[in-house]
Amino acid sequence: MTLAAAQNSVPLEHWLTLSGVLFTLGLCGVMMRRNVILVLMSVEIMLNAANVALVVFNKYLIANAPEGVALDGQVFVFFTIAVAAAEAAVALVIAMALFRRLDTVNVDDVANLRW
């Protein structure tokens, strides 16, 4: 990478701040929304923010290796995406079972196991 290109590129701090903002938004969603579907979406947002951070670190942390095969961070992102897909499928089926049995999707109404 040329010097001019390095100076034009976005600083690492900005990438990490963006990832932190997205993660915090997802966290707020989990804590403030009471609809179970929206809570699940917020979890997906948090996973996605972590994915961004993984790819950013892969881009900025690893030096320019001549063999150029140091893409471990991107492989991790694939695993994260696959796990997120599995989690979303199972959680949505649970939400549907919840709705069929208790006729609600509000997480405050389903607090039998709490405390």
Partner: protein, 163 residues
């Protein structure tokens, strides 16, 4: 040029995520979230992670969000005006989390401070090579996890579960 697209896609991602979380109607939330994931795919392109950008659109914006929309419409959620948002001490916790993340990101990037990004490109052949050599055991474990998820979905979605 790259910064311009970073701020464009990054701002789009943050705004659409905010709209996702603040929409009353869950269907609108899902639509905004598709936009949010598309903006994130643009960010991945900026990071030269082309395969991940493609998968982000295909799997996240495509498959997962269609699944969400399908469930939302299937259980026919009304606009949840009765949903009471909780503005509790938890919001302070969220703000603290952000401050900690922000502080770590800005004040102490450690050895990476001021380092230029590498020019590794996320080509499918490179990633596939890595996935089937060094990461083959996690890959197989992942296939087990997906099988378990499929079986779990089938079991959970049966009409009556005999106690």
């Amino acid at each position: 040029m790259e910064s311009l697209f970073f701020y464009l896609f990054g701002g789009l991602a943050v705004v659409t995520t905010l709209l996702t979380l603040s929409s009353k109607n869950p269907v609108y939330s899902a639509i905004w979230m598709i936009l949010s994931f598309s903006a994130t795919a643009g960010l991945f392109v900026l990071l030269d992670a082309f395969l991940i950008a493609t998968v982000e659109v295909l799997v996240y914006a495509g498959a997962i969000m269609v699944l969400f929309l399908f469930v939302i419409m299937m259980i026919n959620l009304r606009t949840s005006e009765a949903e009471r948002l909780r503005l509790s001490p938890l919001a302070i916790l969220a703000a603290l989390t952000f401050l900690v993340l922000f502080g770590r990101a800005v004040s102490d990037p450690g050895p990476m401070l001021g380092k230029a990004p590498n020019d590794l490109v996320g080509d499918p052949d490179v990633i596939a090579n890595l996935m089937f050599t060094e990461y083959v055991v996690p890959f197989e474990a992942l296939s087990l996890l997906l099988t378990a998820a499929v079986v779990g979905c089938v079991v959970l979605s049966r009409k009556k579960v005999k106690a």
